[in-house]
């Protein structure tokens, strides 16, 4: 029987790793993710997880050790956040290019300067072009579930790409919630053992991995990553179906909430989706036709799902905790890309909020809805709306 325990998302991530039985964990501590490797090192020390725990001197080394271990043919895990993920940056491309299904847990945190340890999504959003699959969890249960699902997607032969699972710094990483821990046998059955057919080391089959790719081959290797990411769309659907059958919890690439007759849909990711759904209930009670949509899978970007959502509504309001300077939100840009050639499309509004741990309140969301209503009646006034900005100190 699965057991329920009260735990932080960091512990949930460590439990997910334990259940997935990686053979190598290489990690370097960083706020707010430190508890993940700390907890895993306990599991290893207590003999509950049979794995090699490599203590390294930086995140660059952590992911490099993961690449080495994965290339040797075993399941690997690591966790990081913010500057740590940024330090991994160059190796992230290598992991994807070498087609190594590494899974990383990210405690989504802002980037310096100024140094700030609190939540936004800038760290993993900035890694969107590395060839990694990206999941964003709304709560601690999702953090655990999506890590297990991430292995299943990443290791699928049609995909073979690394994956990261993000969960919001402090809002989730350090907040306790009841989390259902699935049975080991059930996870074993769901994931199976990782037996790679491509990347592994065997003296009887000498290979070169990560070799030089001349102009005659490089472009094709990039295309193969593109193709794998495209394949991931279908694989994720299959894995989410199987996940529901196995564990009883349903995941959607985009989870829609009260969208059917909604004139305004607030689109967001991560823990903010919980706040937004609560807010939708409040506004619905007031008679406002409003809905919410949560993007669980950000890479591959859910183009078809966005198109389906756009058909239902008049305004898509993107609420995001990241910024691509001079453009706006990255998810807004991707959403716009998904709809660019559609004949009919809703108004798409770009809201930047909650950067560096600033709380997103119902007052903020009221402002978003007011702007959305106004845009519907009078047109869009601003390219990018900064919500909750303290204009008085600017």
């Amino acid at each position: 029987m699965p057991i329920k325990k009260v735990m932080k998302a960091n512990e949930a991530a460590a439990w997910a790793a334990k259940l997935a039985k990686p053979k190598v964990i290489a990690a370097f501590p960083i706020t707010p993710s430190t508890l993940v490797p700390e907890k895993i090192s306990e599991f290893v020390a207590d003999g509950e997880l049979d794995a090699e725990f490599i203590k390294v001197e930086s995140e660059h080394s952590a992911i490099s050790a993961c690449v080495g271990a994965s290339a040797a043919g075993v399941r690997v895990f690591t966790a990081t956040a913010s500057q740590g993920l940024a330090l991994m940056h160059e190796i992230l491309f290598i992991a994807a290019g070498m087609r190594l299904p590494i899974v990383i847990a990210i405690g989504n945190r802002s980037l310096s300067a100024p140094i700030n340890i609190w939540n936004d999504w800038q760290d993993s959003i900035s890694e969107r072009d590395t060839g990694w699959i990206q999941f964003y969890a709304e709560n601690n249960q999702e953090a655990l579930d999506l890590i297990i699902a991430a292995y299943k997607v990443a290791e699928d032969e049609r995909v073979l790409l690394p994956a990261m699972v993000g969960f919001d710094a402090f809002i989730l990483t350090h907040t306790v919630e009841p989390v259902e821990i699935p049975d080991q046998e059930v996870v074993d059955r769901f994931l199976g053992e990782y037996v790679p057919k491509h990347a592994y080391l065997d003296p009887k089959r000498p290979v070169t991995q990560g070799a030089l790719g001349f102009p005659a081959h490089y472009m094709e290797t990039r295309y193969k990553v593109w193709e794998a990411m495209e394949n991931a769309r279908e694989v994720i659907k299959e894995v989410f179906d199987e996940f529901e059958k196995t564990f009883g919890r349903r995941y959607h690439i985009i989870e829609e909430y009260k969208t059917d007759d909604a004139e305004i849909v607030l689109v967001t990711m991560g823990s903010l989706a919980g706040t937004v759904k609560e807010f939708v209930d409040k506004k619905r009670a007031e008679g406002v036709k409003i809905g919410a949509a949560k993007i669980t899978v950000y890479r591959p970007f859910p183009i078809e799902e966005i198109r389906a959502l756009a058909k239902k509504t008049k305004v898509l309001a993107l609420l995001e905790k990241d910024i691509s300077f001079s453009v706006g939100g990255a998810v807004f840009a991707d959403t716009s890309r998904a709809l660019i050639n559609e004949k009919e499309k809703p108004i798409i509004l770009d809201f930047i909020l909650g950067l560096g741990g600033r709380d997103v309140t119902f007052e903020n969301l009221e402002e978003v809805v007011d702007i959305a209503k106004k845009a519907l009646e009078e047109g869009v006034e601003e390219e990018v709306y900064w919500i909750g900005l303290r204009k008085e100190i600017l």
Binding site: G97, H198, T208, Q209
Partner: protein, 105 residues
């Protein structure tokens, strides 16, 4: 030099990799670098004067590539497919039997 000692390897590698891209661009076949003919990098090439050669093997030993082999009589033969023209052989040759001359393209 009559024929590259790597001819069979080159043919094998070229056949193997001309068909399909491997996942992660993994090179399954050891020794595949034979197809990467580094001789094209050369600016100066070693010119061999057999009359001065005392068959000391120093060029053969020092060649970093190694792109110098020995023939049946232990005279050096130069593999211009891979010789990068570094000049180490000419520098080491005690009798100046090897001279670096500008490559004629």
């Amino acid at each position: 030099m009559a024929e590259s000692p790597f001819k069979a390897d080159i043919e094998r590698v070229e056949k193997e990799y001309s068909e399909k891209m491997t996942p992660g661009a993994i090179v399954y076949l050891p020794g595949s670098s034979v197809v990467n003919k580094t001789g094209s990098w050369r600016v100066f090439m070693p010119e061999f004067h057999k009359d001065k050669c005392v068959r000391c093997y120093l060029c053969y030993i020092y060649c970093p590539e190694p792109a110098i082999y020995l023939d049946e009589e232990n005279y050096p033969i130069f593999d211009y497919d891979y010789c990068k023209g570094c000049g180490v052989c000419a520098n080491e040759c005690p009798t100046k039997a090897i001279v670096m001359v500008r490559e004629k393209k």
